[in-house]
Amino acid sequence: MKQIELIPHLFRTEYSKITAVLCKLLGFEHIEIAEDIASETFLSALETWTYKGIPENPTAWLYLVAKNKTKNYISRKNIFNGKITSQIKYSSAEKEEIEIDLSDKNIIDSQLQMLFAICHPSISTQAQIGLSLRILCGFGIDEIANAFLTNKETINKRLFRAKETLRFDKVQIEFPGHVEMNNRLETVLTTLYLLFNEGYYSESNDSVMREDLCLEAMRLTYLLIENEQTNQTKVNALFSLMCFHSSRFKARKNDHGDIILYNDQDETLWNYDLISKGVYFLHQASRGTTISKYHLEANIAYWHTIKADTREKWENILQLHNKLLQIDYSPVAALNRTYALAKANGKHEGIREAEKLRMTGNPFYFTLLGVLYTDIDNLKAKENFQMALPLAKTEADRQIIQKYIDSL
């Protein structure tokens, strides 16, 4: 059953390409038609290939079928007699034949422009991520539901509403103008960053799916790097951060899917190829004069690729967190900063600073206090771990806290 394995793979890579190109051709208001044509193309493939075998060049086959289906659709609907003729952009107005350009260049351009259209400020970040997964990464609705730990219906509703909003706002599939570009790029990067995190920190048990999410986020970020207009230092910084994080993919979970804490990871399982890529893009990112949060986070991630527990390492991580918190506060960064402070300046100072944070609803806050009190006042350490336990939101977190308690 070779074709059965081949089709999901092709689906993911080609569905998004066909949808993006057709959607750009027909306009965003006809996105469902673009999606339908792409889906029908794969149905045809499934039907035909099962009996006749896989063609020599499956991708070319798919593109040809998609083109024909699009042409049929357009003539069937008599679109030339008015309705959307004006929105179809083709090279020569007099040409009878519609140009459906599935060249590499047009695919990449269409996907990038689609990325900017989807990351429109009028829809929520959650919806942006969902739409990106569906339209740009070719994930199925059930896969997206699985990643968000919700059901298909919720995702369908969310995507439907988001598409309605984008249609209502007449969002164009094109690169924003130069001034608008910078603002929108910020949103695009946030979406890609969250898309990556969704995969990296997902509770979903499907590890293949999680890795795919991360790889897709990296692929889209890399598209931005390859495009001159969007190849900015913060994009390189984000890509570098993703490289560093994903280098630990194999080491951070054991065979049962339990999380392995950083200190217990087998660093021979780290991917050194990805680490050196991360270093390369971090260099690329440091050409400019501005420092984004991605620069700081990538730098922090870089220091974590060095396992040795040196004073220098923690001092650097501490100062990077000090800067990060000034430009972009988050509870996680505050807790990580306090851990680095304890490592660099000593546990007593760490405890003093940690207690100022007073994040009494946060399980990681009490876990941090527990870790800091360990070997200084084990009774207090235990108290804090026990405070953390009922607050923990996932089984994995509860297991980790329980391990800490048991080792006291």
């Binding site: 501490l318 100062q319 000090n322 918190l325 506060y329 505050a334 900063r337 100022k356 944070l357």
Partner: protein, 113 residues
């Protein structure tokens, strides 16, 4: 707003000493930022500073006749003056003899003091 007042801007510290102060200042600000109470701030370097007086008299630097100089400021989100004072107490500036940190409210604060 926390304003750093230095008693004597003439004193030149060793690079090592400056590095220690820098770290302490960064850790102090990082601690305030970790509580999500940091808004912004600036150091006010002494080089290229001028004093302008009536009748177009311009002199180099704020030093000389003035005993006290401003070294910088930070703006924090504090729920009360007392909280701001607590932040100020941690400032490494206070290690210098005669230095002080002035705590001032910013007028028309949209929640900022």
């Amino acid at each position: 707003m926390l304003i750093f007042r230095h008693q004597d801007g003439h004193k030149v510290a060793s690079p090592e000493q400056i590095q220690i102060w820098m770290k302490q200042t960064m850790d102090w600000i990082g601690g305030i930022a970790a509580q999500n109470k940091f808004v912004g701030g600036n150091g006010l370097p002494f080089e290229d500073s001028r004093v302008v007086r009536p009748n177009n008299i311009v002199t180099n630097g704020p030093f000389g006749e003035i005993k006290e100089t401003l070294g910088g400021y930070i703006i924090v989100k504090a729920d009360s003056v007392d909280e701001a004072v607590e932040f100020a107490k941690g400032s490494p500036v206070l290690q210098g003899e005669g230095n002080s940190v002035e705590v001032r409210k910013i007028a028309k604060g949209d929640g900022l003091h």
